[in-house]
């Protein structure tokens, strides 16, 4: 039976999800794209229609308006559309509302980022326990499937860990997730997704598990260099990130879990200025004219719309997980990774690689729920699920998985393509 899918969120990632769902009418009977701004949904539907994908004859693709802050509104939408799978790529402040609506209606739930409270910075460890995991028992009781953090990071990088645990290691000691964008969008400054979320998260304290202890550091206070396949050497900074919180709980015996993101000097200069001037604050200030303004909103309004970056983006992203541990009593070191080219993703579905890599994995998860592989009738983070069918679905949709064994000789590592 083909499934009815509801996508909530019509940003850059929502557009990717929409395109990929439209390319998957063999699995999905209908797709509803919903947002508080229905015009954005219709613009995405137009862009999908322009692509003339080969879709099944009875495939339906339409838009709805929804206020995701209102659970009743969400429940009504899910019921009236006959939705069986909800893909939440909306702002993270509404995750729990959408999950509650799924619990109410029995629809399966997929998201790509952990819930946040707008007024709370530096939420306590582990993030998932503050909101989502509190609903774990209820999901099981009601038989509702909820896949948490099924984007790229978190998401695919968690699956890399699951794969390593299952097939490559006897014990995993450390996990370093590394995310670098070697692309150039040609603007003086731009975030790659919603500046309000992005600029918040990068100035939060960097939390990580090290030597079995949870530790936090001021943002951008720890850095390292790493020489990546294809995109070369980049400087990376320790950052707090969703998957660190779940992997440190779900990978048995792991002592160290860290997340690193690549930042150029120019980006950091801009960030420093924004922060010092107070532009990243989300508390209201009053101007001389008596106007009440949120500084971060003004900055967001000044910056390029991330959805507009795709046509001029050049270069590639490389996101991978460096895993160290023991296999047959020997030290082992693996990099499991993906390279994604901005121009290739643009040619495919009019999106840049960062939105692409975040938006394809939840569609893969939806397909696996539809096929039964991941329809576990319970809540799970991605590392708790079988990674192999996930890699297969990802590869079909343009995200390959490569693996590089660094144990023997770091200068000439054994590189192979797992799924492409």
């Amino acid at each position: 039976m083909k499934k009815n899918v509801l996508i909530i969120g019509a940003g850059a990632v929502g557009a990717v999800v929409a395109h990929k769902c439209a390319q998957s009418s063999d699995v999905f009977a209908s797709v509803c794209l919903a947002s508080k701004n229905v015009a954005k949904c219709d613009a995405i539907i137009d862009s999908v229609n322009k692509k003339n994908y080969q879709t099944a004859e009875d495939f339906q693709f339409y838009s709805r308006e929804v206020n995701a802050f209102n659970i009743d509104d969400l429940v009504t939408l899910i019921r009236s559309t006959g939705t069986e799978i909800v893909i939440n790529v909306c702002t993270v402040f509404v995750n729990m509302n959408i999950l509650d609506a799924c619990l109410e209606t029995g629809a399966a739930y997929i998201d790509t980022a952990v819930h946040e409270d707008y007024s709370v910075m530096n939420a306590p460890y582990p993030w998932y326990a503050n909101y989502e995991w509190k609903k774990r028992e209820l999901c099981k009781e009601k038989g509702v499937t909820a896949i948490l953090g099924s984007g790229f990071d978190p998401g695919v990088v968690n699956a890399y860990c699951a794969y390593a645990q299952k097939y490559e290691f006897d014990t995993i000691e450390s996990i370093d997730i590394m995310d670098v964008n070697d692309g150039d969008h040609g603007h003086y400054f731009s975030t790659n997704f919603d500046p309000e979320i992005n600029l918040r998260e990068i100035i939060e304290d960097a939390g990580c598990l090290e030597d079995g202890q949870w530790r936090t550091y001021p943002h951008h206070s720890r850095s390292m260099k790493y020489d990546f396949p294809e995109v070369g050497e980049h400087k990376l900074y320790l950052m707090g990130h969703d998957e660190v919180h779940s992997l440190s709980k779900n990978i048995p015996g792991v002592e160290t879990v860290r997340f690193w993101m690549g930042f150029g000097d120019h980006y950091l200069k801009c960030l420093e200025v924004f922060e010092k001037v107070g532009l990243l604050n989300h508390e209201t200030v009053t101007t001389n004219n008596g106007e009440k303004v949120v500084p971060l909103h003004t900055l967001k309004a000044c910056l390029p719309d991330p959805a507009s970056l795709a046509p001029r983006y050049k270069g590639k992203t490389c996101i991978g997980t460096l895993i160290k541990g023991k296999s047959d009593g020997q030290d082992k070191e693996l990099l499991v990774y993906n390279i994604c080219d901005h121009e290739v993703t643009y040619a495919d579905i009019d999106s840049q690689a960062i939105a692409f890599t975040a938006g394809v994995p939840p569609v893969a998860a939806a397909k696996l729920i539809a096929s039964g592989d991941w329809d576990l009738k319970a809540m799970a983070n991605v590392e708790e699920l079988d990674p192999i069918p996930f890699f297969e679905r990802l590869a079909e949709m343009g995200i390959s998985t490569e693996i590089c064994d660094l144990s023997a000789d770091k200068d000439s590592p054994d590189n192979r393509v797992l799924y492409a």
Binding site: F189, V273, K276, V277, T287, N288, E291, H297, T298
Partner: protein, 402 residues
């Protein structure tokens, strides 16, 4: 002993009022006028507290000539000290002509809609002032003002002919904020981003903004600074009145942090003056920025360090090449202690008082429009020493300037 009217009650107006009040034998009566009279009253109260002297205040719209004339006719001052906005120079000059009052200012007229620092609008008043038998003295602040006088003083006493002039304005003050502007951020930013012009080979040469810089070591331990070549209005009048100048340049110091902030904020559009839309709310970015940045008027108490502004003059004396550096160093905290304002306002306000004093005393007189360097520099320099801005002269300073 004469009555004067000060128009403008900003940072500079405050310094001028304080300094004039210190000289009751020159300025027998002082009227401080501004669009916002409460600002004048606050300054009058400060002066009453620190000097136990009364000055009077008035409300006036300096854009409105009849209103200005009416006030001048009531008060009948000897002269107006104009430290209002540069956009208002011409209306105040018109009012002075009509009321038969002498005129003095510290910055040249600028049209409201274009950033043009040019004297021609004010020079065009030459005949009117001459016929009326009135004097209009232009640019009696620090730069322009003291820098023109330093040049004139060097030319008079150290040279037969001057050939090269470098005006160097260093603000070595530190207010402890990562970024703040000393005055209105919009005007600050406009000045820094304007195309650079300097005089060379008989004409003004244009170069991109902030494209030429060098390091300069200030004397007396003030420190090392990066100075950037930019246009400044005294270059126009000095090259006119000293036609022997082969080259004249103006340099100003900027800190790396200041320039970094300016570059980023400007490039992302945070200095924009047009409203932008956020979910239906119309926001003017520069207004938000102004709300976030420290209020320029609060910098005074926390600014430490010194300003060092001077002129490096090269020329010929008795057939031999020589170089002379004339400069003043002023400590921010000394200024704050004396007149409750930092050195940027102080160094502008004191020369304004001195220019007015010399006019009141009749040491500087004439009918027409004059730039300050057309006056005898000696009494001005003497008063700089007496009234808080002592100057130094170094012959052959050994600078290695480009």
């Amino acid at each position: 002993m004469k009555k004067v009217m000060i128009i403008g009650a900003g940072g500079v107006g405050q310094v001028v009022a304080h300094k004039c009040a210190q000289l009751p034998q020159i300025f027998s009566e002082i009227v401080l006028a501004s669009r916002t009279e409460s600002k004048c009253i606050a300054i009058a109260k400060q002066i009453k507290e620190t000097q136990n002297r009364d000055i009077s205040t008035a409300q006036v719209d300096a854009d409105n000539v009849p209103e200005l004339v009416a006030l001048l006719n009531v008060e009948k001052p000897f002269m107006v000290i104009n430290v209002a906005l540069p956009y208002q120079d011409l209306t105040i000059m018109d009012a002075c002509l009509e009321a038969g009052v002498h005129y003095m200012d510290t910055a040249n007229y600028e049209p409201l809609d274009t950033a043009k620092f040019e004297y021609h609008w004010q020079w065009a008043y030459q005949e009117k002032f001459e016929k009326a038998g009135l004097m209009a003295l232009l640019g009696s602040g620090f730069d322009p003002g003291a820098t023109n006088m330093f040049t004139a003083y060097a030319a008079k006493h150290y040279f037969d002919e001057i050939h090269y002039l470098d005006i160097i304005d260093v603000n070595g003050g530190d207010h402890g904020y990562p970024f703040a502007t000393n005055f209105n951020p919009e005007i600050n930013i406009r000045e820094v981003t304007a195309e650079c012009r300097h005089w060379e080979g008989g004409e003004f040469v244009e170069t991109p903004a902030m494209s030429t810089k060098q390091e300069f070591t200030c004397p007396d331990g003030v420190g090392d600074f990066n100075i950037y070549r930019m246009y400044h209005e005294e270059l126009e009048s000095l090259t006119k009145h000293y036609p022997t100048l082969k080259r004249a340049q103006f340099w100003m110091s900027f800190g790396e942090s200041y320039l970094k902030h300016l570059e980023v904020l400007q490039n992302v559009g945070m200095t924009g003056i047009e409203p932008i839309d956020f979910n239906g709310q119309q926001i003017v970015p520069i207004q938000l920025l102004a709300a976030l940045l420290p209020d320029p008027s609060t910098l005074g108490p926390r600014t430490v360090g010194k300003t060092c502004i001077g002129c490096v003059v090269r020329g010929i004396k008795d057939g031999k090449e020589k170089t002379v550096y004339v400069y003043n160093i002023k400590d921010h905290q000394d200024c704050y202690g004396e007149v409750k304002s930092q050195a940027i306002s102080y160094t502008t306000g004191v020369p304004a008082m001195i220019g007015a004093k010399l006019m009141v005393e009749g040491k500087w007189a004439g009918a027409g429009v004059f730039n300050i360097e057309q006056m005898d520099p000696d009494p001005f320099m003497e008063d700089m020493n007496k009234h808080g801005l002592p100057f130094q002269v170094i012959e052959e300073p050994g600078f290695d300037l480009i």
